[in-house]
Symmetry: C2
Subunit: 283 residues, 2 copies
């Protein structure tokens, strides 16, 4: 199944991709949908009942999960990105949090309204939780994963490096695009290898494979669940591969008007134009 949240004139709606169309479901977003028991049957019943449809092309999508209760992010989790930051392969995942309103839609503009001169990209596989998880084994964690989506953990490197804690460089409102769809775990397997790539305008800046993850989706969900309960709609960002602007020589950050294109094989593509109104870029 491929789930999304569609913007309509009457507000947002959860939607299931089916037969070249979005079948609109009775929920304001995919997050509200998947928190309900029997949502799969409900979605299939909507298809069978010929529920309202929108064409795939031209539909405007929001973040599939609009109000996740928790977003946990992992850093330093691709072998190639660890190499470029000059670090060792870690024994434990490096984790931090974002807020729900840090997220933005898969085609929304990213407005840099602060004073950052070092806005950087981080293409990431995002894991969506489908069932409550607490102190889970790897197998239990795997079973609680609803599916996967694409994200870009856009980071303000100057703010990120002001102190020891990265959070303030990574929690700017509406700067983390996510989507376009959540693909359920029965359809794809990041462990088997999905190509992940990020482009700035036409230039491929990141190109890797989810096979390169140090801690895979089930590892991360199991680990996080040791200290905090996860619930349907919660999101785990799994970290970014090599090729970020900070790791290049010379360093290279986003400029006003550039378009960030983030994609993962078998899931889809985010396209986000960056607006920088603070007069600066660090080119």
């Amino acid at each position: 199944m491929r789930l999304a949240t569609v913007r309509t004139t009457a507000g947002t709606r959860a939607a299931l991709q089916h037969d070249g169309a979005w079948v609109l479901l009775q929920a304001t977003d995919a997050g509200e949908l998947i928190a309900r028991d029997g949502w799969r049957e409900e979605a299939l019943a909507a298809v069978a009942a010929d529920a309202e449809r929108l064409p795939l092309e031209g539909a405007e999508l929001a973040a599939p999960i609009l109000r996740p209760g928790k977003i946990v992010c992992c850093g330093l989790n691709y072998h190639d990105h660890i190499v470029e930051t000059g670090r060792e392969v870690p024994e434990y995942p490096t984790l931090f949090a974002k807020f729900a309103d840090t997220l933005t839609g898969p085609n929304d503009g990213i407005e840099v309204g602060g004073d950052s001169q070092k806005v950087d990209w981080e293409a990431e596989l995002a894991v969506v939780i489908g069932a409550p998880v607490r102190r889970a084994s790897r197998a239990e964690a795997e079973a609680a994963i609803l599916g996967y989506t694409v994200s870009n953990d856009v980071s303000y490197r100057d703010w990120q490096s002001r102190t020891l804690q990265w959070f303030q460089g990574k929690a700017w409102d509406a700067t983390t695009p996510i989507g376009p769809v959540v693909v359920t775990a029965d359809e794809i397997s990041p462990r088997d290898g999905l190509e992940i790539r990020c482009l700035v305008d036409d230039e491929v800046v990141q190109l890797s494979n989810t096979r390169e993850l140090v801690f895979d989706a089930a590892d991360l969900v199991a680990y996080v669940s040791q200290f905090t309960r996860l619930a349907p709609g919660d999101i785990v960002l799994t970290g970014t591969p090599g090729g970020v602007g900070l790791g290049r020589s010379p360093q290279r950050f986003l400029r006003d008007g550039e378009v960030l294109t983030t994609s993962i094989e078998g899931i889809g593509t985010l396209v986000n134009r960056v607006s920088i109104s603070n007069g600066g870029d660090a080119a």
Copy 2:
């Protein structure tokens, strides 16, 4: 005004301290109450209308804000704590996040169910937001502060130091007690100096004053609001003074059955018994 959330047999209720009693208000917690326009008039009307009361003594309190949308925490923010960690006075606040369910009530037990052997205390002043704030000046931030409460940012030092990011040592479910009341900003001024102390059983382990804060409440709210909107009920933890177990020589962590008592002058006291069922302590 002194606001709390009282546990009753019919669920939690927001309450206003008045004339030696809790006056019960029409909201499930103080967070729901203060998100409403006109809540002050509503609370005073309940007092005048002789609404249901509970005696102060014996009432069981929950965290005053049960579901804050955002909790932002500051580290390294007391001159004396900075000295004990061997660091310099910072130019910027060091920030990280907690989840709503990391909080627990002012007299609840703290159950250490994981494998941590280094559970430490961090008495903190907590700021409660009363109005929407975005990219605020210091004066605007000050005006958006509803009031203050007491918290203890209980930290699992072994997990905290596993990686560069502290989050995983500070986001264990139900380990951050908060309360007992939110005292509105017209009644107290941390900038003018409130004594803050933490005891482990009968031993005073932290004793400082909010005058020692490097970044005060208004500084922190203004700073955080540069990157993320704050809303009524959001909470900012302002960091802990010197005297944590990690900073002692020899180091000293919490043991099963010890009682943590955290108080701030003019606000109140948290009393939390620690249960450590993993067989260990690092005494």
